[in-house]
């Protein structure tokens, strides 16, 4: 669990797990990043089972963008800037 933003990581895991079939394969790596925020910034590198990336990204990246929006909102709870990258 990310020390910087437990709320954002919990959100990210919840959303991605609800979209993919293979929830066991969901991997989220938190990487510290620079930011002006008090709580700093973190980047989540999200990996899912092979073949499920399309589902997480969605048509024109809409699903991915929605996940980012919500994870960012959750990050604001911990005063942390959050980026989400989907790693293939």
């Amino acid at each position: 669990m990310s020390e910087q933003s437990p709320t954002a990581e919990a959100m990210c895991r919840y959303l991605v797990s609800n979209i993919v079939d293979d929830t066991e394969a969901v991997r989220i790596d938190a990487v510290a990043a620079d930011s002006g925020r008090t709580g700093g910034a973190v980047r989540f590198d999200v990996q899912v089972a092979q073949g499920e990336m399309g589902r997480v990204i969605g048509k024109r990246g809409r699903v991915a963008q929605s996940i980012r929006t919500l994870v960012r909102a959750a990050g604001s709870r911990d005063d942390v800037d959050v980026e989400v990258e989907f790693v293939d």
């Binding site: 709320t7 959303l15 609800n18 024109r60 699903v63 963008q65 996940i67 919500l70 909102a73």
Partner: protein
């Protein structure tokens, strides 16, 4: 299901407009081309494309794939008139956990709430009430992560569409700037429903966080009326800002209720916009 006739400059535009009016995905609609568009000199539209469209009637699912032998109970409850349906008032706040069997088996209370269950269950997906259960439980999961408890209120709209309003203390964080977070939640609800119920389920549930969608639709309808009046006054077309298809549908629906103006969508997403125009006066004879 009623047929809807649309005329537009191109077949593609006509189809797009039809889908917006029907509020369904292309895969859930049926089209008939009544006439192809013809262009005259200098690409001027001589004859508009004329198509008719309707929501695809869903085939009856063979008996053996009906889920867990509930077919009879469902079709009985399906006969209940939608008007007699009670509003499923505020529900218990905590996230309702359900295993997969629970998700497929609605509680008795929910079974009463089903509108056209025969159609829904025959689609190979979930009934409307089951979709609503799933959507509420998914959204409550999001809220719980943020430490928020939500209350849900279900509203039935036309065409078997249900709007679920979610509200609770501190819901603002789930609405976001200009409703961006609320929109993201709605998008994810659609994704989750699609995944569990197949594409037919898509677009039946509208999750309205903090009631922003209803407020926005009302404000947009007012704005549209003003723009329609302006278009009529100036006898000129007015192009609105690009907006998503839900908002475009609100505009088209509003325009449909106003005499002497018509609307069409132009451009490609995310820049697709509605143009409001005074209706052309029919040629003499």
């Amino acid at each position: 299901m009623e047929w809807l006739e649309i005329r537009a400059a191109t077949l593609e535009n006509a189809k797009e407009q039809a889908l917006e009016h029907l509020g369904v995905d292309e895969s859930d609609a049926e089209f008939e081309v009544l006439s192809e568009p013809k262009t005259g000199l200098f690409g001027r539209v001589k004859q508009q494309a004329h198509v008719r469209a309707r929501v695809l009637p869903t085939p009856v699912r063979p008996k053996d794939v009906r889920s867990r032998g509930q077919g009879n109970r469902r079709s009985r409850s399906a006969r209940q008139s939608p008007a007699a349906k009670p509003d499923n008032g505020p529900q218990s706040g905590s996230a309702r956990r359900r295993d997969s069997a629970g998700a497929a088996r609605p509680k008795k209370k929910d079974a009463k709430n089903m509108t056209d269950t025969t159609q829904d269950s025959s689609s190979g997906g979930l009934s409307l009430a089951e979709q609503a259960d799933l959507a509420e439980s998914f959204v409550q999961g999001i809220a719980s992560t943020l430490g928020i408890t939500l209350q849900f209120k279900r509203h039935d709209l036309d065409n078997d569409i249900m709007r679920i309003e979610a509200d609770g203390d501190g819901v603002g964080i789930m609405v976001g700037r200009r409703g961006s977070t609320a929109q993201a939640i709605d998008e994810l609800v659609r994704t989750v429903l699609k995944r569990s119920g197949g594409s037919i389920s898509e677009g039946k549930i509208r999750m309205d966080i903090g009631g922003v969608r209803a407020k926005r639709a009302a404000a947009l309808a007012d704005f549209t009326k003003k723009m329609a009046a302006e278009a009529l006054d100036a006898d000129a077309e007015i192009a609105l800002e690009p907006m998503d298809r839900v908002d475009r549908k609100t505009v088209h629906d509003t325009i449909a209720g106003i005499d002497d103006v018509e609307s069409r969508s132009e451009g490609e997403d995310p820049y697709r916009r509605v143009v409001i125009a005074p209706s052309p006066t029919p040629p003499p004879g």
